[in-house]
């Protein structure tokens, strides 16, 4: 039998939030931790099933080897692409300093 997973902690939620670049307040952490724990408890019900002999499913669709022929298709106009960006320079997307974003 599978061991019951440890319930998710407040620190786990804070960590996952940071990875997803979500800034959660202390109140939100208190609110979401039990909610996420409830979701995971539901998943644990599934985990408790005996799946011996069941082949893992990578995809719900009964499809495999869906590939396309290697033929060039038109790209889209650069002006239209860059028009959607908040900051542009020399035909490129201009973004803030990269390493400063790392926490």
């Amino acid at each position: 039998m599978l061991a019951m997973p440890k319930p998710i902690s407040r620190a786990d939620v804070a960590h996952v939030a940071r990875l997803a670049r979500l800034r959660l307040t202390d109140d939100e952490l208190d609110q979401f931790t039990p909610q996420l724990a409830a979701v995971l408890a539901h998943a644990a019900d599934v985990e408790a099933l005996d799946v011996t002999g069941v082949i893992p499913t990578a995809h719900p669709l009964p499809l495999r080897n869906v590939v396309r022929v290697d033929v060039v298709r038109p790209s889209i106009d650069r002006a239209a692409v860059l028009a959607a960006a908040p900051n542009v320079q020399d035909g490129q997307f201009r973004v803030p300093s990269i390493l400063a974003e790392e926490s």
């Binding site: 495999r64 290697d70 298709r73 490129q92 973004v95 974003e101």
Partner: protein, 480 residues
């Protein structure tokens, strides 16, 4: 038990390499945008490779084919594979995740043979998409202190195969040889142009050291930004020395990603490597598994070209030369020619020497193997001297033609027979005192005088006489 190679007295170097190869497909991995280097920024982009909402990826069949070809060339097992999302926030990936193969890669458990006959294990070779290209502005121009970055997504979504080696490499030279060999294999397969200077082949090195005899691996650092095969060796040596220096003063390296600084010949700390858990890999819901059949694999195997290691082995067998001595000719792509020439009856060793030394190294050979074989046969039979053979060959390369006819036109044939004796006799007659001395001299003195006579003959024949033949005529005349 294999012998331990010491990097420095008492220390063993441990290296594993991750090589990224951009595949030479016409289009990107998951969309029909052009896969070409050197276009204006952001001109080869579409909703899919820009990660716009509602767009869906479709796998490029050629990329899968190329990846399997490379896998089989590296003697990997090709298995059913599943794409996954590797989640991270960095502006080089507009989707905020990179599609890659994680726990079910196409190729696993292969090996690569180096020219010295050693093997490096291949852990895996998986398919993924390349990231966009960021260039940093402001600060001192390097990544540190940059105030803003410009992003070009032409490269985002270009198909890549990442080839991960086992930590089997023990010297910087072996690491260089591995990258060089992998490059040759990729080129032979035609799956990538493998240009390190254009970034279509990129190398990351995982480097650590350990005291000789210690069974466990120690902390490793991943060195990125290595832009040439030469830098592969320099970066590894620098990093290993840095580790040893730290251990020597009782400290230890921190596990981290470091960047090779070519200009200053050193590595620098970069951002610390995130735990692979932090990438929160999960199966890509928009793509279905790739399941190659046994027939697919058999078809790929059958179509594999002869690879460098097999070419070296074949040439070494034919010529009796050591594998290391045929590398040059194989690398130049001249080995098929040697095989053909030897096949029509020319001496194998002589052919190898002539091809290696006297054919232009950086051009394909346009000579007919039959003509070249004829030349080698004439030289081996003593109809042409080494000097004459080279002159005939130069003429063949310049204007083509049959070596026999060229030799005849240059008057080389006559020289090899009676004409040589006549010239020698003339020289003897012109130098009676020296000749008298030669006739009575002992072996040692004769050798010296023989040099004089041979020099005279060479002068008279403009170097077209065969030194050995001259010595024979002299000996015959003296014995009379």
């Amino acid at each position: 038990m294999t012998e331990v190679i010491e990097f420095q007295p008492g220390w063993e170097l441990i290296v594993g390499l991750e090589v990224h190869c951009e595949l030479a497909t016409k289009t990107k991995m998951f969309c029909g945008c052009r896969n070409e280097f050197g276009h204006e920024p952001n001109t080869n982009v579409c909703p899919t490779c820009l990660g716009l909402p509602g767009s869906l990826p479709v796998v490029n069949g050629s990329a899968v084919e190329y990846a399997m070809r490379l896998g089989r060339a590296l003697q990997c097992t090709v298995s059913p594979s599943v794409f996954a999302r590797k989640n991270y926030f960095y502006p080089d990936m507009p989707k905020d995740y990179q599609v890659t193969q994680y726990d079910k890669p196409t190729n696993t458990a292969g090996k690569l043979e180096l020219p010295d006959g050693s093997f490096v294990g291949i852990t895996r070779a998986h398919l993924e998409e390349d990231t966009g290209k960021t260039s940093h502005q402001g600060g001192d121009g390097r990544i540190h202190g940059a105030e803003s970055s410009l992003v070009d997504y032409n490269r985002a979504g270009v198909p890549l195969v990442e080839i991960v080696s086992e930590p089997d490499i023990r010297t910087a030279d072996q690491a260089k040889a591995y990258v060089d060999e992998l490059r040759k294999i990729v080129l032979a397969l035609g799956v990538s142009d493998a240009k390190m200077e254009e970034g279509s082949m990129r190398v990351d090195a995982n480097v650590s050291v350990r005291p000789v005899g210690e069974p466990e691996f120690r902390t490793r650092c991943e060195i990125k930004n290595i832009n040439s095969i030469r830098s592969v060796g320099r970066a590894i040596e620098y990093e290993a020395k840095r580790h040893i220096a730290l251990y020597d003063v009782g400290e230890k390296p921190t596990q981290e990603t470091r960047h090779w600084d070519e200009e200053h010949g050193r590595t620098r700390a970069g951002r610390s490597k995130e735990n692979s858990d932090d990438y929160r890999y999960f199966d890509e819901p928009d793509l279905v598994p790739l399941v190659p059949t046994a027939d697919d694999i058999a078809r790929i195997d059958a179509a594999l070209p002869m690879l460098p290691a097999s070419r070296r082995r074949r040439l070494a067998e034919i010529t009796g030369a050591a594998a290391a001595d045929v590398t040059l000719v194989v690398d130049r792509g001249h080995d098929d020619f040697v095989v053909s020439v030897v096949g029509v009856g020319a001496d194998a060793k002589k052919t190898l020497t002539r091809v290696e030394n006297d054919l232009p190294p950086d051009q394909p050979i346009t000579l007919a193997p039959q003509s070249f074989a004829q030349l080698v046969i004439m030289e081996t039979a003593g109809e042409l001297t080494a000097t004459q053979a080279k002159q005939v060959l130069a003429e063949m390369l310049e204007n083509g033609g049959d070596p026999k006819a060229i030799a005849a036109a240059k008057g080389f044939e006559a020289m090899a027979s009676g004409a040589l004796e006549a010239v020698v006799d003339g020289i003897i007659a012109a130098n009676p005192a020296d000749w008298a001395e030669f006739v009575v001299a002992d072996d040692k003195a004769r050798k010296k005088l023989s040099g004089f006579f041979t020099g005279q003959v060479m002068k008279a024949t403009q170097g077209q006489a065969d030194g050995r033949a001259v010595a024979e005529v002299l000996a015959r005349r003296a014995a009379r």
